[in-house]
Symmetry: C2
């Protein structure tokens, strides 16, 4: 207990350095080029270090009107996908001196509390991920904040920017892989969650199968746990004729599905192939390892944060979203906002200014193989 004295303020630093508080602010703010002599500037920095001065961020935020803090709305960090999303967003945020505060998952205490209250901090903007429908309703009420949507329905929102994962393409890749192996009877183990990202999986799966002349897949809904996947897959495998492949909405369900297969005395992948989504740690922990669609969660989080920062920059410059103020963003951040994705400016009225789509890739591992009875021919590798 070191006397527990109050934290030094910029005025204390000024007194110690023999200058005014304004000078301290200028020096520490880095904009003293022709305003403070190098000697006094050094004295200020020395005094600040000596006293262990830290600017009061609340006061700064109040003065500046911005807080360098963003709210990230995710359903549950215990899902590794969202943890990765957060990691990417937090990394980019830290690079720009921003903080990230999380919206407590809606399953938390009582009915969805006001995100802005529960954040406990003043906010500059919001990044909202999928599966947050009722939270979004609350968000709209405080619509003065710039909003970036992640992996959400591109329409029906006044988001300033949208970053999507190309889930549909991922599903097409998974189905293509299964078709190539010779599968024709495919069942869908679907997450029973009202979320755009899962709707896309269903639609893309049905479409891809129909395009190949296969029957539409039976859909078996499940929660989000391993056991849910096992239950749904058990029902799916009871069908006659039995499906030869189970396409699961995420890796957790896929792992559960594998257990159901074995519980029937069947083998993965020799008797039944299984695919997942996300490429979680879990995908390489189970045996056989899961064939899964790798979603670039960190990149998505990073891209979302970059988009938010760009919007914030644009706001500060007073530019309309479309207006290209040459040189307004010094280091070309705007162009580099989403390095790997295809970014297009939407022309539709009321649409988000930027829609970015990040590519996904199927990762083939041991949980898929040709269906039983397939002759090992030259094309069978």
């Amino acid at each position: 207990m070191t006397t527990d004295r109050p934290r030094p303020t910029s005025r204390d630093v000024a007194r110690a350095a023999g200058v005014s508080q304004a000078a301290v602010s200028l020096v520490l703010g880095g904009k003293w080029r022709g305003r403070v002599s190098p000697g006094k500037a050094a004295a200020v920095r020395e005094a600040a270090r000596e006293l262990g001065y830290r600017p009061n961020l609340a006061a700064r935020s109040l003065r500046l009107g911005r807080t360098r803090t963003a709210l990230l709305v995710v359903p549950a960090l215990t899902n590794e996908f969202f943890a990765r999303l957060h990691a990417g967003a937090a990394r980019v945020a830290a690079e720009h001196g921003f903080g990230v505060v999380l919206y407590p998952s809606p399953e938390g205490v009582g009915p969805a509390r006001d995100p802005f209250d529960s954040a406990g901090a003043a906010l500059d903007g919001v990044i909202a991920s999928s599966m947050a429908s009722e939270a979004l309703a609350a968000l709209r009420s405080g619509g003065e904040l710039p909003l970036v949507m992640l992996d959400s329905e591109p329409e029906n929102t006044q988001a300033a920017a949208t970053v999507n994962l190309d889930i549909a393409d991922g599903m097409r890749q998974a189905v293509g892989h299964l078709l190539e192996l010779g599968h024709r009877r495919v069942a869908h183990i679907a997450a029973a969650v009202d979320s755009w990202t899962f709707e896309v999986r269903s639609a893309a799966l049905t479409e891809a199968l129909e395009a190949a002349g296969c029957p539409p897949p039976p859909v078996w809904t499940a929660g989000l746990d391993v056991a849910d996947g096992t239950r749904a897959a058990a029902r799916a495998l009871a069908a006659v004729p039995r499906p030869t492949a189970l396409v699961c909405d995420d890796d957790v369900l896929a792992a559960g599905a594998c257990k159901a297969v074995r519980r029937l005395g069947l083998r993965v992948p020799e008797d039944v192939s299984v695919t997942g989504f996300d490429d979680l740690t879990l995908a390489r922990a189970v045996e056989p390892e899961l064939t899964t669609v790798r979603l670039p969660a960190e990149e998505a989080g990073a891209a979302g944060m970059r988009a938010l920062l760009a919007v914030l920059d644009g706001r500060r410059e007073g530019a309309v979203p479309d207006g290209r103020r040459e040189g307004a963003v010094p280091d070309g951040r705007r162009e580099g906002a989403v390095p790997d994705g295809r970014t297009r400016e939407a022309g539709g009225s009321g649409s988000p200014a930027w829609v970015t789509s990040l590519p996904v890739r199927l990762t083939v591992r041991g949980s898929t193989a040709p269906p039983p009875g397939t002759p090992v021919g030259p094309g069978g590798r």
Copy 2:
């Protein structure tokens, strides 16, 4: 773009309700019992709702000198254990109107940045979890904030409170279980991370085995990935005589170890038993499901946050940590700070005021069985 007008302030609300700004603050702050008439109070609330008023939290923080924000330092949220920890802390925080901001993992950008800067928000206190040694050094420099340590070495810290998981007991339970099954040759797949929580595992394992007259376990270190666990286990299983049980520092390593067992043509648990730690989702996703020590991560996070809130309350009351100001905490929060754990007040000088130890429990699943060659007798169940 709804004209993008500036957010209404309490003065705007006052004007709309025909009262002074002070009255608005009193009403909305809930302390208007004998200060404002019910009629005007209602008018204030109505006006606030009408205008969509939200208090400026930066201004409030500046005025009050506290921010209702805590910093949680964890190594990586992508580890489900820490995600659960965060969930518990965030839940309790939200219940008390607090926010939680995370310290970006040290593996992030460059050398450990100043946590307080990167937090981007003014802070009331810090909760630091295990594995944050170098971050702690930075934390010390700003030692004016109350610090709660989670699952960390109880000595050697000026923490205001400490919440520990009884890891040693968990390890004793695991070893006891294996000994009961008849195992004598046990190897340790250890996480090569410099962290107190892993040191405890090693020490407790050795001690428990020696107490039973078993040889000290060979230790094989690994990183934190599935593949690391597989590699380390492969080396462990190459020993002669081969160990009959692998005790792993966490579930991810355990899952990897299971793969190594099977890669040698052996079976889990018939030929080799495997145990883990944490009881992650992964523990029930692999087959056989993992026997593991369940760590109450959410409870730990919640207890840590409660401890911090109690410390903060104590500070505000001006009480010394030991002084029991009767009734200082109205709703008995102090007593209920850690409902399930054993809390003791340390008497040692310089020790944290409160040390709480949360119980852990072994969960027996399919990955453990008697060692090969065990006769199925009456005691063998």
